[in-house]
Amino acid sequence: MTYGENQEVVSAALLALIHARSDPAAELGEILQVRRQAHMAVHERLEELGLSRHEPPRLHLNQSIAAARHPLHVLARILDTLPPVRPGSEPPSALLARHEGDVRNPHLAHWRTAARHLTLGNHDLRASADQAWRQPEAAWHLIGDLAITLDAFVLLEQRVATQKQESQMLENRLAAGSVARMANWHATDTSADLTFAAPETTLGRLGGPRIHLVRQPEDFALAQQALAGFLRPRMADIDDAACVDRPGLLAARTVATGQIRLATAFASWAEREGEHDLAQRFQAILPLYADLHRSTLRLSEVQRTASPLVVAQQSEAVQQLRKHHNARVDTQTMHALERATDVVAVTTGRSLRREVQTRRNIVSIAHEDIRVSAVVGTLGSCRRLLAASRALANLTPSAAGAAISPTRRQLAESLAASAP
């Protein structure tokens, strides 16, 4: 499961708790313990997002200003004001595991689901192949999810709050709402939804980067996500003087050729399942990649890029097509494949544009001799490559993982309509 899918499950569980007609009657002790795990998972995520790395505000700021400047501290403060629960004797692994008895106690089941998937979401983020979600635009998306989750926690606490606690609850809900609003304004990149914990499959020894192996057709979506992760620009690229990991012509050509093969196969799978719209969307990508490849034919590089991770991951997926070319997959998997394939296209386009525009490592080969656009300072010779990259980067429908967030939206609407 990806981070986005886990957060959807969390939101569905919280929605069910909000709409539950009665308060829990049985197994209160266990509910409190499971709820404590959920609170701890939220705290863990705040830490992952950098809570301890940022200085807490020294002055008492106006609530809205604090939400804008110190969203993590505002959320941490809300979490701190929720009633504490003493740790019980059961370990988290036992508390978070599925229990057969939960069928009889939906309250407990929903809290357990929320706690489990918050924890799994943390793992997806921490163990992802790249850490692209740490980029500010993507991090705001995660902060928004946390703000809504905490708002729901406060609303659920409010039902059992004393009169004295009510003003604090109101303040908390307003603060969570302000952070959610800020996140909504700033979260321009929802690709963090596609983050997943890369399996422990390593390329090379000593725990090298993770290549996702394709064992079954369902793995293609995860392999595509891993590929997009390797294509994404990283902070380390700035110091990568040897161009080892940077995306360049080799990556562009390998991805273009490989994605044409994959998208053709995915289109035929979708067609076989009667998903004609999906099949058309896969087919629509083909000319874009053909253009990208064509645009690189008369280009070369000043310093050759190697992109070993991109090449290895793309090659793994293409090789495994031989085994799975007649695969039958369900609709949900087809949609996951389509989203992941779009993300690869958008990421390829964005990364190549960035590479051409900022590094000027790609040059044109003329008929007579090499002409180095980097030296003459023109991007003219790379114009076709830029145009092809732009076409991929602008692939919008479900591009960049345009977040599968119907339940999160529903939870946010439900919270907005629930008066304190």
Binding site: R253, T254, T257, T264, A290, H293, S300, I365, A366, H367
Partner: protein, 103 residues
């Protein structure tokens, strides 16, 4: 002709074949793959445009060139890569037979 000149020629043939390829098909995809393999072995500093005009004619020339280059290669990885590229060109020819080929 030197080996380098043959590699330049093969590269030039692939550039024009890929540029002239029709809409995306399995043949286009195989040609793209063949181009990727050849530039893995040889990265030219200039493009030698082929004298052959016809698409099928260029495919035949390219196949012979790649076979010859693979057979004369003294390095295992280069030899295998060029053989792979030649196989891909054969695949393209099988999809789209050269004019005059037996039916």
């Amino acid at each position: 002709m030197t080996r380098m000149a043959d590699l330049d020629r093969a590269h030039g043939l692939l550039v024009t074949l890929c540029e002239d390829a029709p809409a995306v098909s399995s043949a286009t995809s195989a040609l793209m793959q063949a181009f990727n393999l050849v530039v893995e072995v040889h990265s030219p500093t200039r493009i030698h445009l082929p004298t052959e005009r016809g698409y099928a004619e260029r495919l035949v020339t390219l196949e012979h060139l790649l076979d010859g280059l693979a057979d004369s290669s003294t390095e295992l990885s280069e030899c295998l890569t060029l053989h792979d590229a030649a196989d891909l060109v054969r695949e393209v020819r099988a999809i789209r037979p050269a004019p005059g080929a037996s039916r």
